[in-house]
């Protein structure tokens, strides 16, 4: 679609939404890619005033609990370990404001990987070291980590393991609608996660809580179309789960990926920054692959640690406050000297507000 037509279509849709709504409609997106797309494309600046957008816990780096960060730091400081991480984790401060970047400057062996398979290559090249891959991510990245573990087992690799702090999305949505303090009128559901899990894990939102939800793609026009559907369902009081990302999301999801996840991981309790423990919201490595479970391999136990001083990322992640409501935002906490992960991560809400203004 050419840009003039696109601008016209978007304006027309937002005018229709504004006309349709009788009062404020608050929607939450739970995917870092949606957060960035909304800000970066300038879509945020075009939202009609009755449309309230909040970002939820959709950034896996941001929702990693300080106790899990502390566990990662402990491994990174182990002189026998090469700690393989995704780039964004490098600058996340722990409860004392120390980052992996600081540890690396002091000599810790920390390597940025673009994929978990890179860390397997590291294991083959460094047989005198223990390579640990830090598994931070939702359902989108878990299958690749699972496949890496099965590959490691097939190859008989003895010096590789994964620190699994993976989480799954539907339980945190359930927590937000049952215990959250913020009223949510509709969800923009994560496109990438949904390619793996399909539609049915979200059905409870419509069935039990009457909250309409739409699985959306990432182009601005995809998001606008999804908001049109969301507000229409809301006004007609006919909440459903709609899939508007059919080019990537099949109703039953990706069966092969689900099989890999089930083969290697089992559901466990997990801790989410700002929330605490949510039952059955994480993934840990099954006993059949226990030699690849870094927690067992290194006898790691979680430590009871709090948030960095003054950090309110936990409230931002639940939509309780906007980044701009945090007293540290833009002052003590900036991308160059972040206090919490929401300012560090490329998909963090605070980073988006800071970088793109609005």
């Amino acid at each position: 679609m050419d840009h003039n037509k696109l601008q016209h279509k978007i304006k027309e849709t937002f005018d229709r939404i504004q006309e349709r709504l009788k009062g404020p409609f608050r929607f939450m997106e739970v995917c870092g890619t949606h957060t960035v797309s909304i800000f970066r494309s300038g879509l945020k600046s075009l939202f009609p005033h009755l449309l309230e957008h909040i970002s939820g816990p959709g950034c896996p780096v941001c929702v990693t609990h300080p106790r899990d960060i502390a566990m990662g730091m402990e491994l990174a400081e182990n002189p026998d370990v090469i700690f393989a991480i995704f780039g964004d984790m490098m600058r996340v401060p722990d409860s004392n404001g120390i980052t992996l970047k600081d540890l690396r400057a002091k000599g810790a062996n920390i390597v940025v990987c673009y994929s978990p398979l890179d860390s397997l290559k590291l294991a083959l090249k460094n047989i005198d070291k223990e390579i640990v891959f830090w598994g931070i991510g939702f359902e989108t990245t878990v299958p690749t980590v699972g496949a890496t573990i099965t590959e490691a087992k097939k190859m008989g690799i003895k010096n590789f393991s994964v620190l699994s702090h993976h989480k799954i999305i539907p339980p945190v949505l359930k927590f937000l609608v049952e215990y959250g303090e913020v009223e949510i009128n509709g969800f923009l559901l994560p496109g990438h996660v949904s390619t793996i899990i399909g539609i049915s894990p979200y059905e409870f939102l419509a069935k039990d809580h009457k909250i309409p939800s739409v699985i959306a793609g990432f182009d601005p026009i995809d998001i606008v179309y999804a908001l049109d559907m969301l507000t229409s369902m809301y006004i007609c009081n006919s909440p459903k789960i709609l899939n508007c990302y059919e080019r990537a999301v099949k109703p039953k999801g990706n069966k092969k990926a689900q099989r890999v996840i089930k083969e290697v991981f089992k559901v466990s309790d997990a801790y989410w920054r700002g929330i605490g423990k949510i039952e059955a919201s994480g993934l840990e490595i099954r006993d059949t692959y226990k030699e690849f479970d870094a927690k067992k391999r290194f006898g790691l136990t979680p430590k009871d640690v709090g948030e960095p001083k003054g950090c309110r990322c936990g409230e931002v992640l639940q939509g309780k406050i906007s980044p701009k409501d945090c007293p540290l935002f833009g002052k003590k906490c900036t991308p160059i000297s972040p206090v919490g992960p929401c300012m560090v991560s490329t998909e963090g809400s605070c980073a988006a507000y800071y970088k793109y203004g609005v």
């Binding site: 840009h3 696109l6 601008q7 978007i10 304006k11 800000f39 970066r40 494309s41 300038g42 879509l43 945020k44 600046s45 075009l46 601005p220 026009i221 900036t334 991308p335 160059i336 490329t346 800071y354 970088k355 793109y356 203004g357 609005v358």
Partner: protein
Amino acid sequence: MGGLASSRLISEIFIKYLSNEILDSLDDAAYLKLSPRLSFSTDTYTIDPIFFPGGDIGSLCISGTVNDIAMLGARPKYLSCGFIIEEGFLISDLEKIVKSMAHTAQKAGVLVVTGDTKVVPKGSVDKIFINTSGIGEVILDIPLSGKRASPGDKVIINGTIGDHGLAIFTAREGLDLDFDIKSDCAPVNNLILKLVENIPEIHVMRDPTRGGVATTLNEIAIQSNVCIELFEDALPIKSGVKEGCDILGLDPLYLANEGKFICILPEKYVKPALEILREDHLGKHAALIGEVTDTPKGKVVLNTKIGGKRIISMLEGEHLPRIC
């Protein structure tokens, strides 16, 4: 390094390619006759890799300093160059670099009139670092400055953005993306002079090197205490650069450019300025990319493709190290 050996290095390589009457005298300093209003600049080049698609540290160290001098509205005349070379550096590579310097100096119409070489132990520098300092004669009555952007002015650029930054990133990471990605490294002083001599009023010229167009415009917006609005639709970006950036998660607005300059001038001179630029091979993709407004002061705002707006913030921290 012994006296005889450095003498041979100087004569065999430097004089061979950079020869001119002033340099050839090999005095301790160069005797220059210049008009009293001068533009003076220095830069040290530590780029990695030293050879890259579209250029090398040699073409870069001449272009970079020549361009900086020209940005005041000046005619660059003379350069010095200081080399710090790691022991064991290949003479053949040094020769390639100096030949490239000579070629670029000739294109720019400048002379290298004095220099220095130090060879240091292995590991003290990474292969080769080059400093160039340069002098030019200011031809405008009022030199151009970052403080002079005014609401109502327009922002133009002489060509595509992000070429150099992406070329360096892909060369450094050893990525072959199947797109034609080349640095735009070039001296643009002659093109700048054409503009300055024919356009009655220009307010700002700046080359968007480290930190890209985004950072440079933020600096100008702060210096001039204005807002600069960019039009996303109008930004000239090569399709290969766009696709490469999409794949790598980079933003062309923050990538360095080494053959480009931003020019901020009154609206009535935009059309003739663009005509002058587009006649030159270094300006054929020149474009009007933005305008200066009043608020929000000190900020750069992007008018996006979909008709929305967002801030373009200053680059925080080191996006890509050793880019120039």
